[in-house]
Symmetry: C2
Subunit: 199 residues, 2 copies
DNA sequence: TCGAACTCGTACATGACTGTTCGAGTTAAG
DNA sequence: CTTAACTCGAACAGTCATGTACGAGTTCGA
């Protein structure tokens, strides 16, 4: 997780962060996640206020708006990676995919919004590099389904991956617009993907 | 088209705009369309420069950033409405939908990008009100297909409409990413929608 | 050709955001 | 309990965008 030279600035010589500092970092990341994943153009001041923390304190932990955004994405990606561990991807690919969608779709949706709203704060390359591992897991699952004859082969794998994300995003919009309930959404998604992917 | 009390500010008493003024408005709208549909956060200064026009001149025609954005959307919507007239929507719904997609998909894509990038400049209500008529045309076509037994009825019509737009957007992203060519895109789209919509 | 319409650059007032500095107060940790 | 880590507000400098005002020049239109 993360890396040695993370986003945090000052550390104590021991290498440990003080407890209250860690707590504040968490509060900032929580607030940032909520704001950033809901709308673009969030300001550092807003995040600080939502976190119940002074703006200067925030800058003490995240030296720039960009670093904050990166930390946000990092945490979201880690969370997603961790969530994958909990999903059973064995057995028939179509059933496995349905399980993945049902259990992870709102995580995928949040990441997508986050991703959309930090564009301009971090470089596309950075974003792509971080997102790639997650994309590849889905890609592998789909490829397996194609090899097994469960999924269609007349369209590029990359297209199937992209349309999955696209429909997840669409489902989230439909919920926001009140045209779909949170309960219906995963079922609609699974049904749509089943049609879209089948041979 | 448009309406009586358009975005333009000064008019001659005759009600006619001078030829050079009209020309500049067009240049501004052209440049604005290009910029706005390619990325968010475009500034008025950028549009003016891209149009080869002074910033003050732009403000002379469009009193505010918001009005400029509205004019942009208005023109795009009018263009789309006009394009509908040229498409044959008679006959079997599935074939008609394929024709619509093939002939209009890049117009739909551009409007979608435009729409995404003016969020924050115009109210969601305004946007929705203008976009609704276009949405309704697709909705009607899909509804007809359902009544004819050509399209599935186990998912909401609104969802079918939304996923159409969503996949169009996805296809455009794939082209940008170099994973799909402009020639392949409409075919991939039609094939996907056929699977997604069929009973 | 004459006047009104139009354009242009420059300049100004205003506001929002970013990132930094300072000093004084608070809190965790050993 | 003592020190170093941390937090806070206030204030500052720098940048960038919006929208307005002015005055002088250019161009259309009748």
């Amino acid at each position: 997780m993360a890396d040695g030279k993370t986003t945090a600035s000052a550390r104590r010589p021991s290498g440990q962060r003080r407890a209250d500092a860690q707590r504040n970092m968490d509060k900032i990341l929580d607030a940032g996640l909520k704001l950033y994943s809901s709308r673009p153009g969030v300001s550092v001041a807003e995040v600080a206020e939502a976190a119940g923390v002074g703006r200067v304190t925030l800058y003490g932990h995240f030296p720039s708006r960009t670093e904050l955004a990166k930390a946000l994405m990092d945490r979201a990606f880690e969370e997603t990676e961790a969530a994958w561990e909990g999903v059973d991807t064995s057995g028939p690919a179509d059933a496995a995919l349905a399980r993945v969608v049902r259990e992870q779709w709102h995580l995928m949706e949040r990441n997508r919004n986050l991703r959309d709203n930090v564009i301009g704060d971090v470089s596309p390359q950075w974003l792509r590099a971080r997102h790639d591992p997650i994309l590849r897991r889905i890609e592998e699952l789909i490829t397996r389904g194609r090899d097994d004859g469960a999924f269609r082969t007349d369209l590029p794998v990359s297209w199937l991956v992209t349309s999955l994300y696209s429909l997840v995003h669409a489902a989230s919009d439909e919920i926001t617009a009140g045209r779909l309930t949170a309960a219906e959404a995963p079922e609609v998604l699974v049904a749509s993907l089943r049609s879209l992917y089948r041979t």
